[in-house]
Amino acid sequence: MDLHDSPDEREFRVRARRWLTQHAVDSPDVEAMPGSADVDAWRTWSRKLHTAGFVGLTWPVEYGGSGLTPTFQAIWAEEVARAGVADHLGLVGLGMAGPTIIEHGTAEQKERLLGATLRCEIVWCQGFSEPGSGSDLASVRTRARLHGEEWVVNGQKVWSSWAHMAQWCILLARNESEAPTRSALSVLLVDMRTPGVTVRPLRQLTGDPEFNEIFFDDVRVPVSMTVGDPGDGWRVAMTTLKHERATIGLGLASRLDAMVDAVINLVNRPNSDGVIPGRDPSLMHRLADIWIESQSLRVLNLRVVSALAESDASPPFGSITKLRWSEANQRLMQIACDAIWSDSVVAEGQSAANDWTFQQLRSRGNSIEAGTSEILRSIVAERILHLPRSR
């Protein structure tokens, strides 16, 4: 075992750090959420990242990627967090839709969509969850009826981040007239400009319209835009979710590290009440526990990318990253709100400290998005501990 970068990794890290230091001023506001971000600035920034060669690090070279191991993606995530800049706008495309197309897509789909995704000409959204299908994803009811060379899609998707700015959607739909089982599902790639697609923003409890509802009303999708075979959608969707959790995992440890540093700075300064929160030993003990958790997650992450460098299969312990990150981040945000104390009840825009209140409110979504903590625990219990399937 060796904690240090190999010569190649070191060279990449130095190059990334130097580039990020030089260009950090061009980055859009890193704290801005998808609902309120300056999309044009973010798109411009994403293109700069692509031109500099930092986008699609793990994608195969033949599809415009760099063909590197996930270790390099983890280094990139560390350096982005360290520099305090925004990453590429198209995370759904780079981390989920793209890898799914690479694994299951047709030559035409790859040619048309992959390069444009890297260049941020296409931003993707994910059309998986529905009002009636959250954790029980296999029960989706959005219908795709085959009509000649086209699917006709009707239904409603929900919790789709980025949908208001997305050009394409990776959609999970049920083939009409088949029994409600997993084998009747298909994954379709839908151009969001197609007539019948309506996006409606949903306001979150933070006040931000970060995610959206998408309505499909007789939307016609060419059969050539099916990923994998019709009816094979469950397997394809599982590829997407596998990549979703892996992509998220790589960045999470670095994000938590950066947040812990920010909270350390916060508690060591007087708050608006004139109190230095870090003088309270019990608050510092809570913070120490999160620091321990972030140290563990960082090393766990290195274990995951080390394993992926040797084998394509993600190691079992990789499945706990998101679970532990979400709960640690939620506790960290509680500490931050306790640190700013009176300011934690002040609405956005009223106080310099209110970002923490926003972040704390937003953090409640961490244990729901991309697999609830309950579902993640069941996955560990069934797939790693081999306990009998629960209902």
Binding site: S6, T71, I264, L287, I292, R377, V380, P388
Partner: protein, 356 residues
């Protein structure tokens, strides 16, 4: 970077697991000596195997899993690193490696602290110099491995490190019946007992600090081994025990605590690997060791408590092995030191961090 086990390390782990699974409690010591395990990390020039902190981690994780009885921890984790720091101790190290001589460590504990904390060196034994010799007087409660030991390594304020043969005049030992029956505890009293000086001054401080850091890491490894062992028992039970017409492991109220336990194990293991890698490069920082002590000290107990709960009434019986793991976990936690004290150390470190 690479945090994968090497093929040799994986092989070492399975060899150990087989060895511990097939050894009797009474035979395990001579088996370990014959396999060169007692000198695993002692340098080859002193007759050891010259392995590193990662192999050490594997050894103690497997020892914890198999509840290998002391004096493994007392002799190999607590004393060997001190002896090998000293010049010209081959007369002491060779019999340790061969399993012919058992050592224990008596460190001061007058402040009531039992843990491996260098601050605890402030009291304890007193040193008299006369007739060209050194005599130690004083007492130390609850010395692990004292009853089996042939010699004690004694830490005195200063600090200094002495060797006391336990058949020397003025030595009193009494049995203190440990709750964990797989190891012994005894009270040691010395009255003007002749002793041999091994280390003093800065060299002693450095050696004791690194020995304690290392021992905390190995205690943590044992706790991780224990947690894995009881998780395996609970998994089996949850699959086999049926109530309401189905295996209890199919109930999320049973399955989810086990999933959390799995996550706790992998998080603590990550810290243990990190600290061992840092030691491989030189030394781990105090907050890094403290983080591991909190994680593993908590893990050992909560793992056993979860497993006892999942086993229901069976978990409360003497017949079940769970209580033995539980009691060992308690012992390891006291050795590693109170999680709150370690959190306080980390908190100091965080408060002192430079502002961004």
């Amino acid at each position: 970077m690479n945090l994968n086990w090497s093929p040799e390390q994986l092989e070492f782990r399975s060899t150990l697991r087989r060895l511990f699974a097939t050894s009797s409690d009474s035979g395990v010591w001579s088996t370990m000596a014959a396999s060169g395990l007692l000198g695993l990390t002692i340098e080859e020039s002193l007759g050891g195997s010259g392995a590193g902190p990662l192999e050490d981690l594997i050894l103690f994780e497997e020892a914890g899993r198999a509840l290998v009885a002391d004096p493994l921890f007392a002799t190999v984790a607590l004393v060997a690193p001190l002896l090998t720091t000293v010049d010209d101790t081959s007369d002491l190290v060779a019999p340790l490696i061969a399993g012919d001589r058992i050592y224990c460590l008596a460190w001061a504990g007058t402040a009531g602290r039992y843990c491996l904390d260098i601050a605890a060196l402030a009291g304890g034994f007193t040193v008299d110099q006369s007739d060209g010799g050194v005599q130690l007087s004083g007492a130390r409660r609850l010395v692990p491995g004292l009853l089996e030991a042939d010699a004690a390594v004694v830490l005195t304020p200063g600090p200094a490190v002495y060797l006391v043969p336990l058949d020397a005049p003025g030595v009193e030992r009494s049995d203190r019946a440990a709750i964990d029956e797989s190891h012994t505890l005894g009270d040691l009293t010395l009255h003007q007992t002749p002793a041999r000086l091994l280390l003093q001054g800065e060299a002693a401080t450095v050696a004791v600090r690194s020995t304690f850091s290392r021992a905390i890491t190995l205690a943590a490894a044992e706790a991780i081994g224990i947690a894995e062992a009881v998780l395996a028992l609970a998994q089996t039970h949850a699959c086999e025990r049926a109530q309401f017409g189905r295996p209890i492991g199919s109930f999320q109220a049973v399955a989810h605590p086990l999933a959390d336990l799995y996550a706790d194990i992998e998080m603590a293991r990550s810290l243990a690997l990190f600290v061992a890698c840092r030691m491989q490069e030189g030394a781990a920082d105090a907050p890094e060791v403290a983080a591991l002590a909190v994680a593993a000290g908590t893990l050992g107990l909560t793992a056993c408590e979860t497993a006892i709960q999942i086993h229901g009434g069976m978990g409360m019986t003497w017949e079940s092995p769970l209580h033995r793991y539980y009691k060992r976990a308690r012992y390891l936690r006291t050795l590693m030191g109170s999680p709150d004290a370690h959190r306080a150390l980390i908190a100091d470190h965080l408060s002192a961090s430079p502002m961004a």
